[in-house]
Amino acid sequence: MAVAAATGTGLGCGAKTPWRFLTVDEARTLAALCDQIIPPDEDPGAAWAGVVNYIDRQLCGPLEELRGSYRAGIIAVEQSSRVLYGAAFADLKADQQTELMTQMEQGRAPAEAWKEIPSQRFFDLLVDHTMQGFYGDPRHGGNREGACWKMLGIPYPPIRGRLHFDVNNK
């Protein structure tokens, strides 16, 4: 269900992927990673909020220099997942996923997978972009329906002007 929710309406260059840049498999791995960085609880998690859509869109824009890093990083995640648990990352149990991600964060992930890009570097990118996609403005593809604003209790839609707001009313 996370995958279905994460599927965006991108302008893919063929029938094979709805994404602008990511393959369907890459998006699936990414959705599972992001959903451990910001998991769903009483509020939506990263995948529902469209973080994969955010990443996909920015990799075709201001973050296009990171395309190679994302490709290599996702391959490395899948390789590590098979070495450690014999399954694809998205099919792992939650504690297996977080264990692998912790190893990535600490530079202890299976070394043979991480020759193209250091695991800590890829992990940092994932955390940064997940935070941007979840807590940033929806116009960039994430923070679906202002999910983070509702979660944080910030007035939504965004207010301009204070005509009806009594600053003296406590």
Partner: protein, 548 residues
């Protein structure tokens, strides 16, 4: 067709250049104001919390243009990299009409008297070029007042017993306090501090024909949608244009300052937006590009008489680059602190700006501007809380509305090795050698930061914070939006670039009027001082113009 000769070219339409253009044009000089950026508006940022002057993860909103304006950054290990404007290492200000004043937080500080006599007050500092200014606070006082009334400042510093004396009060009252202010004020008073309302270049009431602040949550880093934030783009520059004596040309980048065989400046060569190389001749040139770019321009203006660039006979152009090391503390509370009422910052203390035992200088402390969600996540990571996963999400959800930050700018000890040069190889889109930045902070800055952050932490605890932590600056190169120092003011041409009237030593008709001339940079946001110096230098320039 040659461009018509004018009396003055001003390079850079920011805090300094905007004021100079208006003063010269009002005095009857013909002025061409060149700005490499565009006339930016709120439509250029559209309240985008990932792309504005403060958060540049998806680019910066107010220039310079990302792909045409590289710099070279050399880190502490000597490792060089080519950097773009949206990266932190670039040490960007902005490039647009108004410069940083379009999108700043707009704190409007007068420096204190000791800030102009740091060496006389504290003695010399090993490893630093700490020195006195050749002018005093009293020299600038009337011009601080002029800036406050003409550009427009609101606030109330009457409770700041440490402030330098003022003759006239501020023209506008402070904005009504927000919840953070009301939480912090009694706590400061109980601790024996002297809290007051931060002076801000922001309309709190209708002023100068424009509206009062609408208290939105997107201030620092954004252009104001109701034009209540005061910068040179909505005050001095329109006034300059209205005289009929000033022409503003945007998207024009100056390549070099031209000199004649007698060693007099005769104008500038610049690329317009086509791009086409043009020559604008003038009787005098004022450089107001901000500390990085002004130094770069002087260094790139080489000739037979000035083989190392203008004003650079003794290798002081580009030296002593400084900014402000930020330090402070964050407090987490078990009650609501957030009321979505901008700009957010409102209360400050100067109890630790000077007179700190065993330390030199200090800095003001104030509550922080409103944190948009991504800024909160990025900047306020508590020690001991994971930076991802459910625990992190719970932290953000619980504390976004229950947190206050108190921080301030440490007055840095200038370092001669912190410098702007021009790169021998890398050139920008127009073929102009780019700025090459290198250097580091002085270790004293971290000691001062420890003291200031501990006071910020004590303040938050007294205000009821259940958890607090401090943050300290690193020792890397400092510049950024408060960049200053690279064309130092001084009486001795061997250890300075401009004289006490901002005129470049060695030349009759070249001036630098921006933060480059600061000898030291105070423990405050520098913009009001830059504006005051611009009024002061213009006053003297006009007087000497009329004499000649």
């Amino acid at each position: 067709m040659a461009l018509k000769h004018v009396n003055a070219v001003v390079v850079g339409a920011g805090a300094g250049g905007g004021v100079v253009a208006k003063e010269l044009a009002s005095a009857g000089l013909s002025v061409v104001l060149l700005e490499r950026g565009k006339w930016a508006t709120p439509f250029d940022d559209l309240k985008d919390d990932l792309r504005n002057q403060r958060t540049t993860v998806l680019g910066n909103a107010f220039g310079p243009e990302e792909d045409r304006n590289p710099r070279v950054f050399v880190d502490e290990r000597g490792h060089e990299q080519v950097v773009k404007p949206s990266s932190g290492a670039y040490n960007n200000n902005a490039a647009c009409v108004g410069g940083g004043t379009l999108s700043y937080g707009a704190m409007a500080w007068r420096f204190m008297e000791k800030d102009f006599r740091m060496r006389s007050t504290y003695g010399t500092v090993e490893g630093s070029t700490l020195d006195d200014w050749p002018i005093s606070y009293q020299d600038l006082e009337p011009y601080y007042e002029k800036a406050e009334w003409e550009i427009g400042v609101s606030g109330d510093d009457s409770n700041n017993i440490f402030k330098a004396p003022r003759k006239r009060p501020l023209p506008m009252p402070p904005l009504p306090p927000n919840r953070e202010y009301e939480i912090l004020k009694p706590a400061a008073q109980r601790l024996g501090f002297h809290p007051f309302d931060i002076p801000m270049l922001r309309n709190s009431v209708p002023y100068n024909g424009r509206a009062a602040c609408m208290r939105c949550r997107w201030c620092v880093g954004f252009a104001c949608e109701v034009n209540a934030k005061n910068g040179t783009q909505n005050t001095a520059i329109p006034a300059a244009l209205a005289t009929g004596n000033c022409e503003l040309r945007t998207e024009c980048i100056v390549k070099e300052i031209l000199t004649d065989e007698q060693g007099r400046v005769r104008g500038v060569a610049y690329f317009d937006s086509r791009p086409r190389l043009e020559e604008q001749t003038a009787d005098l040139v004022v450089v107001s590009g901000s500390a990085n770019e002004s130094a770069r321009l002087l260094l790139n203006s080489k000739s037979r008489m000035f083989p190392n660039g203008l004003g650079n006979r003794y290798d002081w152009v580009g030296r002593n680059l400084q900014g402000h090391a930020y330090t402070g503390a964050v407090g987490l509370f078990d009650f609501e602190c957030y009321d979505d009422l901008g700009p957010g910052a409102g209360i400050a203390i100067c109890d630790f700006s000077h007179g700190n035992k065993g330390l030199i200088g200090g800095g003001m402390l104030a509550n922080e501007f409103i944190r948009l969600p991504y800024q909160f996540v990025r900047n306020w990571q508590p020690p001991g809380v994971p930076r991802w996963g459910l625990a992190h999400k719970q932290y953000v959800r619980q504390y976004y509305r229950r947190s206050i930050g108190v921080m301030g700018p440490v007055q840095e000890m200038p370092v001669f090795e912190s410098r702007v040069e021009v790169d021998p190889q890398v050139k920008d889109y127009w073929g102009i050698p780019v700025a090459r930045l290198s250097g580091h902070r002085h270790p004293n800055d971290q000691e001062t930061a420890k003291l200031l952050s501990s006071k910020a932490q004590a303040w938050l605890k007294e205000a009821g914070a259940k958890t607090t932590w401090t943050f300290l600056p690193g020792l890397g190169l400092s510049g950024g939006q408060h960049q200053a120092g690279t064309c130092r003011m001084g009486d001795d041409p061997k250890t300075s670039v401009v004289d006490k009237f901002c005129r470049v030593h060695d030349l009759d008709n070249l001036y630098v009027v921006d933060g480059s001339v600061h000898v030291t940079n105070g423990g405050f946001n520098p913009v009001l001082t830059i504006m005051a110096i611009a009024y002061y230098a213009s006053d003297n320039l006009v007087k000497s113009w009329r004499r000649s």
